[in-house]
Structures are given as structure tokens and as C-alpha cells.
Symmetry: C2
Subunit: 408 residues, 2 copies
């Protein structure tokens, strides 16, 4: 018997038919002797509908507090509907809103952080055989006001509850069957991973693999909550996200992520002096523009080139800003390209980069794909290439690292 926290996302509870299926699934776990606590999102489309109405009348600019009151109603609907569906099947169940389990957050409306959860009521319900059905995404602050956790908030709610309840596992039940070696829409041979580490998942999640929000992965890693991504409607073991990846220690690469929503900006002929990077990036950061990759080559003749990437929607604004900065610091020119993509190879097995990097460069050269930028972290190698090659690059690298084969 295990205590399992299950989180069902918007598409899993997107209609009364689907909610009935979720109820059947929960009932199946109980029949197999498990204890279950459930966290649900709003029905798919509902949060967007509510946000749109709020924006018509003034939106967060008028009141972040009230936007939270508005959007949190979506989860209230689903906890009630799922509880009804469970009770209808003879499963003892009870809905809980954030204030009813004292899921306390700080006061930051729209992006609140969880501070504490009072699990006493939940524990006694679970011990009495009741399935608590808890509204995700929402919290309550010290003034008794409703807060929301921001994007990916329900995942975070589920992980936080699993941590607080010391659950054996937190299942993220969604519309995909797990975490894949790469996007199955691009590579036919993309393979579901049995396990992956938090670190790897974090890199994949932040690189545009939309299965889990990075914040929830980080949270799970910090509190050592075993996390499993699995399908709500297709039976299967999903992908277990753990601290240590036993089964895959041999595999140097776990997955390949890509992101096309990128742009790069190069400041050329920059005097190679200490502090020059902050003179270039300071004004960008001050405008709340997020910078991703940053590359600076060793200078030649006291001059250097400085390149960085931003999200594509920020490209025009950043270019305008950099023209002023370039004048100030006496740079030769500012050039940019908003038709680039980033491809990243992720794996805890690549503690030594040389071999992996060589294989990446060789294979992309074989495909005649020019690498415009390279950046590495401890478990990741990212390359920037022209956007039009991104699918070719992902397929080629998936093949090069034999990711379609189960590691031996």
C-alpha cells in the first residue's frame, strides 16, 4: 500500500466525460489498496476564458488580487465535479479549497509561493478512507485572501502536497505517456524514458519540453518527492523522475530538446575590457528582458565580439536598446538574427563533455548544418543553428546517440 498524490491537468478534466474517467482511474488505485489524494487543474480553456473576461474589465493592472479570486474559481468547479463523480461511484471523497487546508502562500498575487500546508485535516481524511480532492493553483495569504501560484501552479501544488504528506509518489497525470527522448512529432523513433533525473528534467522542461513546469520539478528535487509523469487515459508506467537514475547510468545522453522561439544579437568590435559584459547586459536586464545563452570569444587585438540570445518576442526591443548601448561603449556594430533555433543534448551521463560534443559537431557537419553558437552546462550541450534546420538536426542527433534504442 502506498500513499500517492495524483495531479490531473486541464485536458484530463476537460469535460464531464473525462472527469468520470478520472474518477474510475482513482477508484482503480483504491481497489488495488493504495491511498490517494488528488489535485486538479481547471477544465481546459476555463482559465483562459476567465482571464479574458478579467482583461476586458481592467485585468491585473486594475487588481491582481481580484484576478486571483477570478481564476481560482476554475479549480473550485473541478474539485466539486470530481468529488461528485467519485461519490457517485461509492468512493468516499471530499473537496478542499486552499483556505480549507491552510495552503499558505506569500502575498504575491498571480505568482505566489507556497509557505506551509496544514496537513492535519488531510491526514485524518486519508486515514478514514476519504480521497481528498484539492484545488490546485490556489493558495491563501496571511490576510485570508486568495492567491494563485502562476503558470504550472497545479503541478507545484501537487508536489508541495506530496512533500507535506510524505507521499510515496506524486503522479502528474496528463495527455502524454511520459517524458520522451525528443519530440515524437519530429522523430518517429522518439522513445519514452523509464527514468530521468530531476536535473535532466529541469533542463528539458526549461528548454521547451512542455510536460512539466520547471518550478514544480525544482520543488520536487528539493523535497525529494519521486515524481512520475504518465497518461491519464492510456495505461502505462510513464516516466519516473528521481534523484539518481539507476537504470540509465550507461546512457551518456537522455534526451534532445529544441526551442525555435529564439533570437540572437551580436555586438561586434567591442573593446575587450573588464566590465564590458555588464555594460552590454545591464540595460537589457533592467528592462526585464530575459537573456539565455551568452558567448564571448577571447579577444584579438584588444577587441572582442559579444553574442547573446533572447526570446523572439523581445528581439525588436532588445535591438533598439543595443544600438544605444553600442554607441556608448564604442562598439563597431550590432547585428541580429531572429530566425535561429536552439537544440540541446541533455544527460547526466555526459559528465565529461568531450566525447558528446565531438559527436554533436561531427554529425551536424555531416548534415551540413552550421553551428552559430555553443554553450555548455554540466549536463547539457546547446547549439544555436538556423531555424530551418532544426528538425533535421534533432533527427540526426537522435540517431547519432541511438536514442531510439533502450539503453542496455
Amino acid at each position: 500500500m502506498a500513499l500517492i498524490v495524483q495531479k490531473y491537468g486541464g485536458t484530463s478534466v476537460g469535460s464531464t466525460e473525462r472527469i468520470a474517467q478520472v474518477a474510475e482511474r482513482v477508484a482503480g488505485y483504491l481497489a488495488r489498496g493504495h491511498q490517494v489524494a488528488v489535485v486538479v487543474s481547471a477544465m481546459s480553456g476555463e482559465t483562459n476564458r476567465l482571464v479574458a473576461m478579467g482583461h476586458e474589465l481592467g485585468g491585473p493592472a486594475a487588481s491582481r488580487r481580484e484576478m486571483d479570486v477570478l481564476t481560482s474559481s476554475g479549480e473550485q468547479v473541478t474539485v466539486a465535479l470530481l468529488s461528485i463523480a467519485l461519490l457517485q461511484r461509492g468512493v468516499a471523497a471530499k473537496s478542499f479549497l486552499a483556505d480549507q487546508i491552510a495552503l499558505h502562500t506569500d502575498g504575491a498575487h498571480g505568482r505566489a509561493r507556497i509557505e506551509r500546508i496544514d496537513t492535519e485535516a488531510l491526514r485524518s481524511e486519508i486515514a478514514a478512507g476519504v480521497v481528498p480532492v484539492i484545488a490546485g493553483f490556489q493558495g491563501v495569504n496571511d490576510l485570508g485572501e486568495i492567491t494563485t501560484l502562476g503558470r504550472g501552479g497545479s503541478d507545484t501544488s501537487a508536489v508541495a502536497l506530496a512533500a507535506a504528506l510524505e507521499a510515496d509518489e506524486c503522479e502528474i497525470c496528463t495527455d502524454v505517456e511520459g517524458v520522451y527522448t525528443t519530440d515524437p512529432r519530429i522523430v518517429d523513433g522518439a522513445r519514452r524514458l523509464q527514468q530521468i533525473t530531476f536535473e535532466e528534467m529541469l533542463e528539458l522542461a526549461s528548454l521547451g519540453s512542455k510536460v512539466l513546469h520547471p518550478r514544480s520539478v525544482e520543488f520536487a528535487g528539493r523535497y525529494r518527492v519521486p515524481l512520475r509523469v504518465m497518461s491519464t487515459f492510456v495505461d502505462g508506467p510513464g516516466t519516473l523522475i528521481t534523484l539518481e537514475n539507476d537504470t540509465m547510468e550507461q546512457a551518456e545522453v537522455s534526451g534532445i530538446a529544441h526551442a525555435v522561439d529564439e533570437a540572437k544579437i551580436t555586438v561586434s568590435g567591442v573593446p575587450d575590457l573588464p566590465g564590458i559584459a555588464s555594460k552590454i547586459l545591464g540595460p537589457v536586464g533592467a528592462k526585464n528582458i530575459e537573456v539565455d545563452m551568452i558567448v564571448q570569444n577571447t579577444g584579438v587585438d584588444g577587441m572582442t565580439d559579444f553574442t547573446f540570445t533572447v526570446k523572439r518576442p523581445e528581439y525588436e526591443a532588445t535591438m533598439a536598446l543595443l544600438h544605444d548601448v553600442a554607441n556608448e561603449i564604442g562598439a563597431r556594430e550590432v547585428t541580429g538574427d531572429n530566425t535561429i533555433a536552439k537544440v540541446s543534448i541533455v544527460g547526466v551521463g555526459m559528465r565529461s563533455h568531450a566525447g558528446v560534443a565531438t559527436k554533436v559537431f561531427d554529425r551536424l557537419a555531416l548534415e551540413n548544418i552550421n553551428i552559430q553558437m555553443i554553450s555548455t552546462s554540466e549536463i547539457k550541450i546547446s547549439v544555436v543553428i538556423a531555424e530551418r534546420y532544426v528538425e533535421l538536426a534533432v533527427r540526426a542527433l537522435h540517431d547519432a546517440f541511438e536514442l531510439d534504442l533502450e539503453p542496455s
Copy 2:
């Protein structure tokens, strides 16, 4: 300067455009120096949409508690939207859910009764110039669970708040311009009443005049809250509902209500013995069938006839039940008619009935309309007639009592 509680119903907040208009209306009251607290219903159609989803999954039979969690989300949406719209216009506003103002009810989910309201927070917000926007229809019980007040619940919420806050007036803002002498769709000359007493309103409300739920009128009467029914979107004074009707003391009749959703059942040839009424109506009451008018004539030769009315949807079930009862008590026969209507003349001025009754009977005779049953209360005379004559009867009686003319 007055403290006014305003309640806006579902059609008044049925779209973001209308919510914006409500915000303008509230802002206008503040500009004229009033203090305002607002109670809102769910957007029109929303409660029905939620209830329908709940019913698909098991409905109140599975859980009344969860149906309340479900339906109360509708008001949560509107308090947030209206608060946003007010803040957008520079009006300080703050939403409140039932638990945030400790609007305590008993535990009866779906038909809870208000027990107490903690007005401290509301009073200090109002004193600080903030417009509290309060979710109608919902409460919280002693377990901290959400309850709802049943049909007409938002009216009751508003009246209870007005009583607790000792407000100068409670405005019920709706899609009609007030209470009329009769249904304006039937009588062109139907006139908006300037004032009406709680007693009269209670009779009119329970007789199918849908402006206000009887429970809220009763509540307002008990706590002496001056109630005003008025239009949200058309300027005008509406109708004031008060304890004493100063301006209209001369008018013997205030209004004419009608209800077509009726059926009558006659048990003929009943032994005229003590206790016979309860033998007939006991089984009906035991099935939770509501009986409206009851008429029993003085017996002749130890036998009598017994007639009563029920709502039309209960007609078949009641007839079936009465056939058994008739056998038991030795009645001659049971007959019924589900094509009847009830027309009621209401007015505190009719403390002596004779004159009014005579005028009713004369005029209906003049129109060749046969009266099938008569029943009187202190301020009301009701007659049952064939349904096909109901519009003719209402028009004729409206004319007979000269209700199109303002009382002198």
C-alpha cells in the same frame, strides 16, 4: 449620505459589458456621496451550466456539499469581475466571499439559512471608502464548508447584509423597473407602484410575480429593511417596499397577480366528519406535495365536497394518491382539472373584504367568467377560473379597480 446595499442579479451582470455598466452605476452613487456595499449573483445562465455538469456526474444525490462548492463558484467570478471593473474606474473596491465575512449558515447544503454575519471587516472597509463586493447565494457552515441559500439566495444575502450593516436601504437592481400593478405583458396600462408594503409584496411574490423571492421579502419585513426594486439599466425610483404604505392608504387594491401553473382536485361525497380534511391532505403532505388553496363547503345531509389546488407538475401524482384515499374514506368520487388558473387581488387597503369581493364577482360575471373557487386572506382575494380566461380576467379586474390611475 446614506449607506445602501445594492444587489445585482444575473442578467445585470450577464456579460462584461453589463458588469462595466454596473460599475458605472455604483460609481455614480459614490459620486453623489453615498456609501455602497454590493451583492452580486452569478452571470445569467452560469448557475444552470454548473448545475447541469454536476447532474451529469451524480448531482445532489451524490453530494449536496459538493454541489454547493460547484455552484458557489459562479458568484466568485462576478465579485472578482465587478471589483476589477470598479478599480479600473478608480473606485476602491474589494471582493468578499462568504467565509471572508463569516456569513454563517446552518449546515443544510443547497437550502441553508443565514445565522450570523461578522460585519466588522465590512464596516471598516466601508468607513475607509472601499466598496465591498460580496458574493451572494453562498454561506459557510460551522465546519468551514461552503453552503448555498437556494433559489432567490442572492436577494436574501443582500437583505441580510443590509440588516446586519443597518443600511438605510437595500436596492434590488434587476431587469424590471419596479413592481407593477399587474403583468405589463398582459395589461398595457399596468402601472409601476411607488410603494408597496411587505405584506402585499409577499402575496404578490408568492403568487408568481417573479421580481423578488418571498423568502427575501419575509426577511426584509422581519428586520425592517427598506427594500427598493429598481432597474439596473433604466434610471428611475423603482418601487419602495416598506412597513407602512403612507402614500397609498386610500387605494384598496395594490396589484393583481396570476398563476397558470395550477391544478385542482375535488373529492366529492365525503362523510362530513371531524378529521376528514387531515385524512385527505395528510397523505399529500407526506409526499412533499405542496397544497395551495383549500376549500370545503358546509355539508349537506352529512356529506361534503372537498377541493384543493396543487402545482400542475404534481397533478398526476396527486390524483393517483387521492384515488386510494377516496376508497379508504368512502368518498363518492375524485375529479380534477389541470387547466385552471388563479387570479389574486392584493391590497392592504382591503381590510374589509365585502366591497372588493363584490366588485371582483360582479366584473367577472360581466365578462361571463365562471368562478370555480374562492379563497381569501387578510389582504388578498384569490379566485380560480379556467385557464383560457386568465388574461381577460386580469385586464378586466385591472380596469375595474382603476389600477392604471395613480391613487389620489
